[in-house]
Symmetry: C2
Subunit: 282 residues, 2 copies
């Protein structure tokens, strides 16, 4: 495994890989089983596996946890070595976001709701850096976790709209044995909040189990349940179209998606689940 | 020469060229010697030469000449065949700018002055389509004329900021024997306005000849000359830093660039010239 610290070195390192199938997993590090599931999928499918570790300052809003975001680099590299990764790209912040940079990629509509409403500028930061990484790595496939469901939708939209020659692969959420969606931010939780955080996945799993297509009932129940869960400060609970992420209304026969965001103490967590009629039978 | 009408066909046609050096000349058609100088340069340097012809609706502001912009496709194709082009990409508007597209590329600062101030949204339209074309064609080099000097600066900035693996090659303005910068829009000019349009290149050539580094004197003279030229309605005349396109002040020892835009009747023309101290000796 080779660790490459600058964009120019990365180009040199990857130039012999042109023509080979490159699989790419962009991350912010602090890796968990969710990330490793993406890497494993790339390792199975692609000839060359590239992982980036970059805590992207552009996607943090004012007052968020950019400074204290965990950066356990040695541990991450050991995990990636074990996972059979070929190249790890660990750019310094100044390298990918120099002061003189003036270009950004914006996806309208999709980015204005949910996470976009709560985190101004977040998705412009994501789209801009993902576009840069795609241009640097030139992957045939890029892997994203469904935990960041809206991010996945934004990246798909950007890839389609800007004609990137990249197949975007969405991978299922990996959960702790008790149901909590894996997240690098779970490390922030106190033991008490870690317990209370279960309310998110429980409410979603219940919503999926009981789904009949009644959007209003599901949304109300999510909001009621999470609004009264001890120690949980709900940011949003929505039932949306899985592609446009527009809120649905009434009773629907098509698949829908439930997304929630909530604070446990100072820690903001998100989770989501697919709502489909078959699930009610299962 | 192969003419390809859709993005998906283009990918198929170019896939055997992966690993070969592709030179790309994006155009809006209505080709003249300026465009052909770009094609000739690509033909000399690159293994595969791709030209796109696409009148990009995104880069026309409200009330501009999108509808009446000339589209002499058969003549353009004949010129490109004679020039030894390998692939001509002629997408339909709906193919590159579908209604559901929501992503745009924006370059701050550089795009807000001069053409950007006069043509709102123009450079966002340019940057977005150029990004798409770069992703579709995957060129090693892309050729742009210096007649659209600000556009060239915007594309260079975007390529640097988003890490496109493309070398942007700027090529000198090609002028008519009497000095008028070649432009597809010259075809709009009445014989009388065609004569009067010479005021632009004459004023610029004079400014370059007499350049002593005195920004204020040069700017004032350009504005006075063009402000009183018969039939010329001046939009702007500026002396700027050639890279940032910020207006300069006072007396400078570094290279500068003079840019002008003016209407002749309903036709808007632009032109520019490099100002450097050596030029005063030549």
């Amino acid at each position: 495994m080779e660790v490459v610290g600058s964009a120019s070195e990365l180009r040199v390192r990857l130039s012999p890989s042109r023509g080979r199938l490159v699989g790419f997993v962009p991350t912010m590090g602090a890796l968990h089983e969710g990330h490793l599931s993406l890497v494993a999928r790339a390792r199975r499918q692609d000839e060359v596996v590239v992982v980036s570790i970059f805590v992207n300052p552009l996607q943090f809003s004012q007052g968020e946890d950019f400074e204290r975001y965990p950066r356990p680099l040695e541990r991450d590299l050991a995990l990636l070595r074990d996972a059979g990764v070929d190249v790890v790209f660990t750019p310094r912040a100044g390298d990918l976001t120099p002061a003189e940079a003036a270009t950004s990629v914006r996806v309208r509509g999709l980015t204005e709701r949910l996470e976009g409403a709560s985190r101004p500028g977040h998705f412009e930061g994501v789209a801009t850096i993902v576009a840069k990484l795609f241009n640097l790595v030139a992957p045939a496939r890029a892997y994203f976790g469904e935990k960041d469901f809206q991010q996945l939708a934004v990246v798909r939209r950007m890839v389609r709209d800007l004609d990137f020659a990249v197949e975007v692969v969405g991978c299922p959420i990996v959960r702790e044995p008790d149901g909590l969606a894996m997240s690098s931010r779970n490390a922030y939780l106190s033991p008490r909040d870690r317990g209370r955080a279960l309310a998110l996945s429980s409410a979603l799993l219940e919503a999926a189990r009981d789904w009949t297509g009644d959007v209003e009932a599901t949304r109300t129940r999510l909001r009621t349940t999470l609004g009264s869960a001890p120690g949980v400060r709900l940011d949003y609970a929505e039932v949306v179209d899985p592609e446009t992420l527009e809120p649905l209304e009434g009773v629907v026969g098509t698949p829908a998606h439930a997304l929630v965001a909530a604070f446990l103490g100072a820690t903001r967590l998100i989770d989501n689940i697919r709502l489909e009629h078959d699930a009610a039978d299962g």
